[in-house]
Every structure is written in structure tokens, then in C-alpha cells.
Amino acid sequence: MSLPVREETDRRIDELKGRFPHQGSALLPALYLIQEEKGYISDEAMEYVAGKIDVSPAFVAGVVSFYTLFHRGPTGRHHIQVCRTLPCALRGCQDLIAHLERRLGIKVGGTTPDGRFSLATVECLGACDTAPMLQIGDRDHGPLDARAVDALLESLR
């Protein structure tokens, strides 16, 4: 059977297993590696990683569904995560979300037809000093008003 991931990823998962006193700990970092490569965690990937770590596929599915940072399907090329928790709400994140929905022509949870952007709301990202804020990829942006968001979207191809 062919590997559902690159050989390099497979090798790195083997390495991870040796890094912890118990190999079960390798599951979360292994899922991160797979998601980095594939963009999301497929059924096939869950079966594969279950075999690697020696747990059941159902156990892996339980873990994947518990953590919000693991995606079960593809997201847009730029996955926009807007914080909606109280400190950001006090600084107007509702307006920010509404503006993004209008500009992108999608609702929270959606992806633009060209696959460029997807939009999600998330809970406090530990950056309330820059409220209202959002995260795209591995970068935080805030505080944002309509003009700053437009410029940000422009800069993301």
C-alpha cells in the first residue's frame, strides 16, 4: 500500500515516537505534521496515523474532533480566524466580522468560490491588547478597522 503522506513526513513521525517517554504523546505532533502537508486530516490519514502510533482509528477520530485546530476538510488558501470573545467584542469584533462577510461575500464557516479565503470565528487568541484582531496562517493582525482589513485582504493573493 502506498503511503498517504510523503516519506519525509512518515520518517518524522517515526522520530517523534522516540522523543517521548510514551509514544502516545506523538499523536498531536504527528497530526500537525500531516495537516501541514495535506492542509487537513482525512479519514485515510487518521487510519494511517492510528497504525503508526498503535491506537485505534476511532481513538484518533476522537482526538481530531476534540481540538479546533485540526481540520477535517480543506480550508481556503488563507484561513481567516476572527476572535469573537468578550475583550474583542468590547472593541467591536462584530463590525469586523460583518465587514469581512460583506467583503468576501461569504458567511462565517464559508469559503470563497476561488478557494482564496475561508472565514471562521474563534475564541480568545490571547492578543486582546490588539482587539479587534484576527489570525491568518501563523500571523496575528490587529487592531483592525475596515480600512486596515481591506488593505490586509489586498495583500493576500
Binding site: F66, A89, L90, G92, D129
Partner: protein, 430 residues
């Protein structure tokens, strides 16, 4: 005399995150001295004498917690550093991690030495991408310079540190959920006892400490417990503290002051006062979203563990969320209820169902469909959640519900009477 920052002494300077800058400012001297002159037992005694209390939320005495480890040495001991920082309103650990990782790292090495641990895990929330990068680099630098790894500074003491990224779950900041997550499982809190000091990670004795707590250990090792114990409000509230100001203030941010600084000084002087001159202060949550709310009339309070308990709330994570007169207290609580409903791990019926009830009732009130009995229903449900759950997450939503409703009862009743939110026009705009 103006206050000289201790925890943030380097954080503002360019390149502060590098080991060279840290060493140039006298860093790792405390570790050198302790490894040469002290012993693990003496280090535990030193931390006890300093009065240091945990900065993660509960304010438990750090040295006392370390003392709970079993006397036997038949199993490895682990130190887990809690860098999950997800309590809404909190962003202090992030600043330390990104701007002065070696201050934290030195405290980790000192603490691991004190509790005789040879493998430590740094559990950092998955969303802290920059923090994760910076900290990993700091760890690599520390290995290269011999502060981590085998035979640290020739002392014969070995320590490995492993970074572990969380994956988006508030509950994993609760210490036993963190352990489950670190074992590669769903983050479901464990029933205590047994406490982690006895049965923790992989069934072994484990100490869990917050990032800021461990940064304080560096200060204690540098200048001694006697000096440390004079800062703040001795004897029970000692040391410097990072306060996170957010919401309706002019300059949201992290501010350092001794424990016991007046709340209003933080708001008025450090954070530049309220955002809009025409809207006076309405209420403050002094310690993160899980803590009870203080109306403006009770904000004349000192920011330390015991003063805030006396005032009816808690210091928690020292996240000061400021709300002005334009804020609707039904809307604010609804926002929090949604957070807790989303983040409940679902193990306990009162927590899982209760959080859903809060959302439904509050949505009803905001939408103008509230029933007269709804106001008491909120408190009734909260009373049934409180004390009836596996972990303190239950209280983390029960306390806000009880306190918002009790403090602003009139506003809740008005939502029923006027069939909607009287502040709808202002409450949600920035």
C-alpha cells in the same frame, strides 16, 4: 519612587529574545549560583520563603506545591510548564515567551532542579505561532550554551526540555486536562485526588506551573527570597505581577506592578483611562473572564490575591477587562456564555447542559423574548453547576452568571420588561 520593572526589565529592548542579550544583562547568573552553591532542598525552601504564589489562576503557594511530591524516587518526576494561556483577557505569558524567553527558561531550569526533574514539557497553546518559534530558538540556544542537556554547567545535573503544541482547546489550560493532552489524548480533566504531584504525567509525580510563576523563580534565585518577600504586600501577597488590561481603556496592554497595586491606578494611569470621555466606568472583571465582576462602585480595590477575595472576586490570571457605561451586562454575559458552551469538554452533565441553558436564556433576553422567571432561572442553573463538576470550569461560568445577575439585576429585569436590550444601539459598537 518609580517602580523598576523586574519581569519586564528586558522585554522592551531590541533583540531581547536572544541569549546574547540575556547574558549581557546578567542572565543565567542565578542558575550558575544555585547549581554551584545550593541544593534542590535549599531551592525549595528558598521559594517557600519568598512567598511566591502561582500566577496561573489559583494563587497556590509554589514551594508548598513542590513539597507535595512523594519522598520516594522510584519514578521519574516531571515538570510541565503551562503556556496554554487561554483565559479570555489574558496575554501576559505570551509577552514573556516572545520577548524574554530566557527569563522563563532560566526559571524552568531552576525549578526542575529544585524538584529533581530530568525531563520538562513546555505545553504552549497551538495558536501561539510566534511564541512557539521564539521559544524553540531559545531552547536550542540554551542547549548550545550548556544550560540544558547533560551535565549543565558542569554540575552533574541533566535536564531535557520538550516543546509541545496544544491544538485549540481552552480546557487544556486546566492542569489535568493539560496532562491528558500531553499524553496524546482528548483534553478531559481528571478527577482529583490523586493530585498530579502524586499521579501526574504517565502516572508519575508531576508539577504543573504557569509561565509567569517560573519567571519569578529566576528573580528569587538572582536576588534571594528575603529581597523578593519585601515586594508587594507581604507576607501573603509578595512579588511583582503582570496585569493585562483590555476592553474600554485607551492603552490596552500588559503592565507590571507589585502585587497590591490599586486597580484604579492600573486603569487610570497605566492604561491611560477610559476609551471614551463621555462614557464612565461601569464594571471591571479583575482576573480573567472566569472571575466575578466588580461594579464601578467596588473598583477601589487592591490587585492582590487576598484583597480581591475580600472584595468578592479573585485575582485569577490578572486579566483586567474594563467595561464602560455603554456595555449591556446581558450582552456581555451572553458573549461569555457562548465561550464556555463552546469550550466545555462535555464530561459533566451540569457543565455541558448548564452552559447551553445559559446561552439559550441569555439569547432570549437579548432578543426581547425573556420571561420574568428567566432572571432567577439563570442563578438557579448556575447554583446547580457550581460545586457539581469534575473541574473548576463549572465555577468558571457559574461565578460570572451569579455575579452579573446579582450585581446588575435591574438591567436583566429591564430586558424582560422592555422586551429587549435598552443598550442595543451602543452595546455592540466599538
Amino acid at each position: 519612587m518609580p517602580y523598576e520593572p523586574l519581569l519586564l526589565r528586558n522585554a522592551g529592548k531590541p533583540g531581547s529574545e536572544t541569549i546574547d542579550a540575556y547574558l549581557a544583562s546578567g542572565g543565567y547568573q542565578g542558575l550558575r549560583r544555585v547549581l554551584k552553591e545550593s541544593t534542590p532542598e535549599k531551592m525549595v525552601e528558598e521559594v517557600k520563603a519568598s512567598g511566591l504564589r502561582g500566577r496561573g489562576g489559583a494563587g497556590f503557594a509554589t514551594g508548598v506545591k513542590w513539597g507535595f511530591l512523594p519522598k520516594t524516587r522510584d519514578k521519574p518526576r516531571y515538570l510541565c510548564i503551562n503556556a496554554d494561556e487561554s483565559e479570555p483577557g489574558t496575554f501576559k505569558d505570551r509577552l514573556l515567551i516572545e520577548k524574554d524567553p530566557h527569563l522563563v527558561l532560566e526559571g524552568i531550569i531552576l525549578s526542575a532542579y529544585a524538584i529533581e526533574c530530568r525531563t520538562a514539557f513546555f505545553y504552549i497553546r497551538g495558536e501561539f505561532h510566534q511564541g512557539c518559534r521564539v521559544f524553540q530558538r531559545a531552547v536550542d540556544e540554551a542547549y548550545a550554551k550548556g544550560f540544558l542537556g547533560k551535565n549543565i554547567l558542569g554540575s552533574g545535573y541533566d535536564l531535557d526540555l520538550v516543546l509541545y503544541r496544544g491544538a485549540g482547546a481552552y480546557i487544556c489550560g486546566e492542569e489535568t486536562a493539560l496532562l491528558e493532552s500531553l499524553e496524546g489524548k482528548r483534553g478531559l480533566p481528571r478527577i482529583k485526588p490523586p493530585f498530579p504531584a502524586i499521579v501526574g504525567l504517565y502516572g508519575c509525580p508531576t508539577i504543573i506551573n504557569n509561565v509567569e510563576t517560573l519567571a519569578n523563580v529566576t528573580l528569587i534565585a538572582e536576588r534571594g527570597a528575603a529581597w523578593y518577600a519585601t515586594i508587594g504586600r507581604p507576607p501573603k501577597n509578595t512579588g511583582p505581577k503582570l496585569y493585562c488590561l483590555s476592553g474600554h481603556v485607551k492603552r490596552p496592554g500588559v503592565y507590571e506592578a507589585p502585587l497590591g497595586v490599586p486597580l484604579m491606578e492600573l486603569i487610570e494611569e497605566r492604561a491611560g483611562g477610559l476609551l471614551r470621555p463621555d462614557r464612565p466606568l461601569k464594571a471591571v472583571v479583575p482576573g480573567g473572564s472566569s472571575m466575578r465582576i466588580l461594579p464601578a462602585s467596588k473598583c477601589d480595590v487592591l490587585m492582590d490575591f487576598d484583597s480581591l477575595v475580600a472584595a468578592g472576586s479573585m485575582l485569577g490570571s490578572a486579566a483586567v477587562i474594563v467595561m464602560d457605561a455603554g456595555t449591556c451586562m446581558v450582552w456581555a454575559l451572553l458573549s461569555l456564555a457562548r465561550f464556555y458552551a463552546h469550550e466545555s469538554c462535555g464530561q459533566c452533565t451540569p457543565c455541558r447542559e448548564g452552559t447551553g441553558w445559559f446561552v439559550k436564556i441569555l439569547e432570549r433576553l437579548e432578543a426581547g423574548q425573556g420571561r420574568p422567571e428567566d432572571v432567577d432561572l439563570l442563578t438557579d442553573v448556575a447554583n446547580k453547576v457550581e460545586g457539581n463538576t469534575i473541574c473548576p470550569f463549572g465555577e468558571a461560568i457559574a461565578w460570572p452568571v451569579q455575579s452579573y445577575v446579582k450585581t446588575f439585576r435591574e438591567e436583566y429585569e429591564e430586558h424582560v420588561r422592555r422586551k429587549g436590550c435598552p443598550l442595543a444601539a451602543t452595546a455592540t459598537v466599538s
